[in-house]
């Protein structure tokens, strides 16, 4: 099973060493400056931790570059709060038109209550179930084709499709685990 990449972008400092010592640096890559992220496009997804001594411009620059990647890093700002290290999620969402400002201004009166957690959990369950069925049909078909394939190029193509189905299976598994966690936490 492939491992989630964990990358720390943090200029050298005593605080950085204390953080690394606190979390254990095994399997974690540490880089000193945003320039080290250049050219790291298609390496798959992972977690990127940004040190608190980066300037706002550097942080914005990293987020801006990540926004266009097919598989951007899940990015967090590390901050020490009292005795604890805390991770603050950072991300650019999709761009919005100016009308979004007007919509947001009217939101308190117009928007209904937030969806019920149980409704969300049931929705997740339905999505996971339907996704699992679709993946079963797709994975079965590609594995049947692989059983009959005798041309190396065709076999390679089918194996690539099979790998993508397995990646999607892992994502569907995440949905199921989120739902299971929600149910275990009192949801239905």
């Amino acid at each position: 099973m492939s491992r989630l990449s964990l990358l720390v972008l943090w200029p050298p400092s005593q605080e950085r060493e204390e953080f690394l010592a606190a979390v254990g640096a095994d399997g974690m890559e540490v880089v000193d400056s945003p320039g080290a992220l250049e050219g790291r496009q298609g390496e798959g997804w992972g977690i990127l931790l940004l040190g608190p001594t980066l300037s706002p411009e550097e942080i914005l620059g990293v987020l801006w570059r990540e926004r266009s990647k097919a598989t951007p890093w899940a990015t967090f700002l590390v901050r020490r709060e009292g005795e604890e290290w805390r991770l603050w999620p950072l991300a650019f969402g999709p761009s919005l038109g100016l009308e979004a400002l007007a919509n947001t201004a009217g939101a308190p009166e117009e928007a209904g209550p937030l969806p019920d957690v149980n409704w969300i959990l049931r929705g997740l369950g339905k999505i996971a179930h339907d996704t699992n069925n679709a993946l079963t049909a797709g994975l079965t078909e590609v594995q049947l084709l692989l059983m009959e394939a005798d041309d190396p190029d065709r076999t390679n193509s089918l194996q690539l499709i099979e790998r993508q189905f397995r990646r999607l299976r892992a994502l569907a598994g995440d949905l199921s685990r989120i739902r299971a966690y929600g149910k275990a936490s009192g949801g239905s």
């Binding site: 996704t131 699992n132 069925n133 993946l135 079963t136 049909a137 079965t140 594995q143 199921s176």
Partner: protein
């Protein structure tokens, strides 16, 4: 060669599983829901039943209960798209009711074959 009933309301899943089982040399009968499967004696004249759990009207749990009543020795493999949720799932219920194997979707064909061989008492690598 064994006669196997494949019961799943998702036609693509059902047909894919059936094709695989036929490629192994088994005879396959398909049904799209529990009500159709339990109508008549067809389901009980098979060597193995592979049933989805989440189906409209008569679901896989009801199928297993009906089979247990009529033919306690007929092996059942339960499959479900509910995912690999360890506790409290319908798939777990199916196992408790006597399904010889439970397979969370999406499974590998190798996993399905192992479950079928186990249910039919076939050695692991032997083709029917």
């Amino acid at each position: 060669m064994a006669k196997i009933l494949v019961l799943d309301d998702d036609a693509d899943v059902r047909q894919g599983i059936s094709r695989f089982l036929r490629s192994l040399g088994h005879e396959v009968v398909e049904a799209a829901d529990g009500r159709a499967a339990l109508k008549g004696e067809g389901a009980f004249a098979t060597d193995l039943i592979i049933t989805d759990i989440n189906m409209p009207e008569v679901d896989g749990i009801e199928v297993i209960l009906a089979l247990r009543e009529r033919n306690p020795h007929l092996p059942v493999i339960a499959i479900s798209g509910g995912g690999r949720v360890p506790k409290g799932s319908l798939l777990e219920d199916a196992g408790a009711l006597g399904a010889v194997s439970t397979l969370p979707k999406p499974f590998e064909l190798a996993e399905l074959r192992r479950a079928v061989d186990l249910a039919l008492g076939l050695p692991g690598e032997e083709r029917p």
